[in-house]
Subunit: 359 residues, 4 copies
Amino acid sequence: MSSSFGSLFKISTFGESHCPGVGVVVDGVPPRMSLSAADIQQQLDRRRPGGNRLGTERDEADQVQILSGVENGLTLGSPIGLLVKNKDQRPADYGSMSQIPRPSHADYTYRVKYGIHASSGGGRSSARETIGRVAAGAIAEKFLLEKYGIEIVAWVSSVGAHDAAQVDLDKISREQVDANEVRCPDSAAAQKMTAEIVAARSDKDSVGGVVSCVCRNLPAGWGEPAFDRLEARLAQAMLSLPASKGFEIGSGFAGARMRGAAHNDPFVQKGDRLGTLSNYSGGVQGGISNGEPVYFRVAFKPPATIGQEQQTVDYQGNATVLAAKGRHDPCVVPRAVPIVESMAALVLADLALIQKMRS
Amino acid sequence: MSSSFGSLFKISTFGESHCPGVGVVVDGVPPRMSLSAADIQQQLDRRRPGGNRLGTERDEADQVQILSGVENGLTLGSPIGLLVKNKDQRPADYGSMSQIPRPSHADYTYRVKYGIHASSGGGRSSARETIGRVAAGAIAEKFLLEKYGIEIVAWVSSVGAHDAAQVDLDKISREQVDANEVRCPDSAAAQKMTAEIVAARSDKDSVGGVVSCVCRNLPAGWGEPAFDRLEARLAQAMLSLPASKGFEIGSGFAGARMRGAAHNDPFVQKGDRLGTLSNYSGGVQGGISNGEPVYFRVAFKPPATIGQEQQTVDYQGNATVLAAKGRHDPCVVPRAVPIVESMAALVLADLALIQKMRS
Amino acid sequence: MSSSFGSLFKISTFGESHCPGVGVVVDGVPPRMSLSAADIQQQLDRRRPGGNRLGTERDEADQVQILSGVENGLTLGSPIGLLVKNKDQRPADYGSMSQIPRPSHADYTYRVKYGIHASSGGGRSSARETIGRVAAGAIAEKFLLEKYGIEIVAWVSSVGAHDAAQVDLDKISREQVDANEVRCPDSAAAQKMTAEIVAARSDKDSVGGVVSCVCRNLPAGWGEPAFDRLEARLAQAMLSLPASKGFEIGSGFAGARMRGAAHNDPFVQKGDRLGTLSNYSGGVQGGISNGEPVYFRVAFKPPATIGQEQQTVDYQGNATVLAAKGRHDPCVVPRAVPIVESMAALVLADLALIQKMRS
Amino acid sequence: MSSSFGSLFKISTFGESHCPGVGVVVDGVPPRMSLSAADIQQQLDRRRPGGNRLGTERDEADQVQILSGVENGLTLGSPIGLLVKNKDQRPADYGSMSQIPRPSHADYTYRVKYGIHASSGGGRSSARETIGRVAAGAIAEKFLLEKYGIEIVAWVSSVGAHDAAQVDLDKISREQVDANEVRCPDSAAAQKMTAEIVAARSDKDSVGGVVSCVCRNLPAGWGEPAFDRLEARLAQAMLSLPASKGFEIGSGFAGARMRGAAHNDPFVQKGDRLGTLSNYSGGVQGGISNGEPVYFRVAFKPPATIGQEQQTVDYQGNATVLAAKGRHDPCVVPRAVPIVESMAALVLADLALIQKMRS
């Protein structure tokens, strides 16, 4: 519970900002799969706060070490332990914040829940907790690609009020996504998004956004009825991400405004399987994949830690003003792209193994 | 997995449309709590398809029987078995549909997954599966109310293009919600919603909608870091409901368009605890309740089964036209209200028990 | 937890002695398997207290009803709800015992744990709780036999000081076991066991015994490393049975007195697989089945409820004398035979499904 | 599953013999508990193969590093990552064994199950896997001692045919146990056990034994009905240990030979609680602790890897002779003592947290 996710392809993450390291144990990875640290590192590098003007300026190397479960470049079928050392373990720059809970941050709720205060405030709510997820997700992705040909691509579809044009779900690639630093494949929108992030930073403010994601080539039949529907698992996975506020699949909230005759996806023959003409369902019917692309979106709020002065109270309830020190990420969505992909991969890998028992 | 939900307050549901009964086993209910069938029946009655013009016209009595776990009106601490008999077990009116998968329905994916076809098509994707959830949820609600004073109220906030005005989260009550048959406390909007549903039925069509829900009086500190965040559990719970397409908490997707300075909820002293002035967070920070009302919305698509003719293909891929026979619910959201409340109660009761281990 | 067992082939049991019924929800049963109530009833009948002189004299019909998950004689892949109604729901004959905890019975610990007293004392520690296990186990057995040819046979190998001669693990059958009422295939030993049980009853006393069990035709490779070793799962399953005090597999406690050169099972070629000459391992190596018969034994204590006067204290600590009223089972092992088989089947069916994900 | 254990106090272990390290993630440790590496190291040192003549001669430093979950000497409530580096990661001395499965070892079953061969043969069946258990168990023990005053002491009660005299369950201490290298508090028996182990080594053979364990000061009420009985959880825990073949609690298999009048433990008043005069129950009634010492025994077979020549076959079924190279442990029970204690602590810590939800 809590720090474990998945039932057969299962991860247990550990670590916070100011301890020796963060990592994950991945249990259930099939044996005899080729795996190297490089396979994992590429997604960690995409998650890492870069040196560019959009992210934080901290330099985090985030090199992964495989501790177990792999021998001679092949997985053994045993748990794979992964470790990323924290570079700087000294608590710093959080001085004034230790007396004042940051508005809309986990400082307050963690203190209430645990009766103790980790150096960086919200403990496991730290963005560094997601390193374990991304490392594990990279393994899940490799399994899904090699075994089933599944491709998972996420991108930034909005920042503040700026929306990307609809992308081609069948063709969008990570190369297109990474073509600019905001990770939006619509280059015109990307420019506006970048400007908005730069403006937010300049205002000592932050801004929210939306990450969209498509999973292609899923076989029909994945996902379980009732509580482990494919979209239920995805929703849990996405709402477990720091700063996420919403999830929608296929038509989502817009679908709630539609009539059924327009919303229903008519079946057609596609090669040797049934497919659908439209995809308002988002690749899922009755909680089970139907062979069409699984398509969903995740809303992220603007980061809570901002440099602007905010009127608030300290832990004792005394009115005060808080202005966060240090450099903070004005917008999480560009870095959330590989995290969303990783969580999707973890959900799908688990459902893939579960589906095997039906065979 | 699949038909079980929760870790300490845990349910296992069973049953589909055309078997002797549907029900649930509820494990983890604290002992010495007063409980009668009537406590459970009231929510089942709200879920039941009524005789009014908005729902289906089938008359389902849906009387619950307590099979175990209660003696002399008190819970024993042992699993509570609940059974609701199916009135009519004969498969009927699904004849032509057995050869043609309904567009956007679970017929096709269930057949692919299980290689077998339950009489009513999607088997466990049937709306009757939610009876077990509602019965169990009624027990969870009673526990939360008696032990913590927690109140859970859901309502219809949109049908098609018609939105309800913002309600007062501190005051909205089930009496207000049930004042009209569409279960929207904004009576002007309710009239438009009702007209829309009647129009959809008249068009042999269906229409989607949104259910909103507030949970009041939660103590701060509930919810677990990482994968079992309060909003992650809620998101899984809600996306596990038939026809749901989206979930958002607090500011949700609108929050993704905001700046942090506007979105942050400043702390203020409220009585003997810290509270917040605004509630864009939706009562949750870092995945843990902060003492403010937990507030979320769930999007439901228009029901897939419609009387209109639809161009589609049969299981063999031959082009055909399908028009569903019988009477089908043109809009699920009025009946989804108690189901959403029940799932919220199940999530909160589980997190309440988990939080006890921190004490 | 607690009333659930298994991870993929998963059961949730409910019910105690004086409620409307006992039963189980079985999730994970593969679809398209033929299943009728009769398939389940035959093991329930073997578990039922008979009218013979060895068991209790209560007549319990224990007819199972399939509530869900089966249509037209085939499993749907959905949860199978099973219900056995309790014939007599009135608490009776437990009057004096409500003030005096029976020595070595669950009366005391249940009262401490739950702060409430079910009519029959130990609530879920009642022997009727095992009905759900046996009903579910019958389905698991059918799956294992039809899919893998696995046969599970248990028998009484000792009652009090009377031991059965070693049986032929490859040939022992349920017909041989059921040839006498004590369920010991060694007829000479069976006579002594029967006499011992009759003597215990005549003395208003009870007597313990051992049930042995063999599982034949398991493929090599079942069982998981570390915490879900085949023998670990079996041990949990068996020690979860009322009155059980010990479990041993293969050489067991006797093996702890041996040298390795004598204890090791040399490999030999057996048809198209490797087998072993001896089977001190009990069919398991490193927690994983090796293709040889899985063989284990379970120790059961003498039942706690006896008619003899016992010096003890009441709940207030006052010295008193307790003599149980009514007819009580003087020895559980004959009836434990199908229960042990059922728990073994549930363990193996779960490991079978888990192993499928390795394929 | 598999490499995870526990539901609330939960561990996930990783690592095998020839990888960078072994370790564990411990989730559910209460916050604000003092914890240092030294607290953990003391049990790891007891587990470590010593330089004495009874164990293997390999020198394994096995220093534990706390990776996360602890700050300023206090637990944070977040997962605690623990790592012990493997000193020598080069596969060695296993050359001939790679073609010949060791009789009664996991070599064969692992190869069948995973289709791959870890350098040391049985992969996760390696004794090094238990390092993670012992490290986690040390934390569980500290929690149980500080919060409840619970003491857990295990000792060697037999080696081969040599049995220790009955010890005083109320007084036995780790100091007494560690007074000799065989870890048997009966010094006369210890001498015979030591001689037997030395003789087995001299014969290039191995020998089995039994570890007994007592857990004192448990409150009444721990353990769950049905499948999570205290003894069921202990049985799973113990049978999950490499080389274990049996488990018994209280009277165990001897109890199966007794009459109820002799076996029942009469209640008496003990201070402010009910206690029992005898303890054939082993501290557990109906699966729930009754306040008396919990007392159980675990049988371990003689280690499979021996230097003697053994007649067997290779993976292709060709007759051959195998004599293991290198130094191997002739008897596991002295080192199993802290491992048994650790698993008992993990079971009890989990049940302690579960019981909190009843309060």
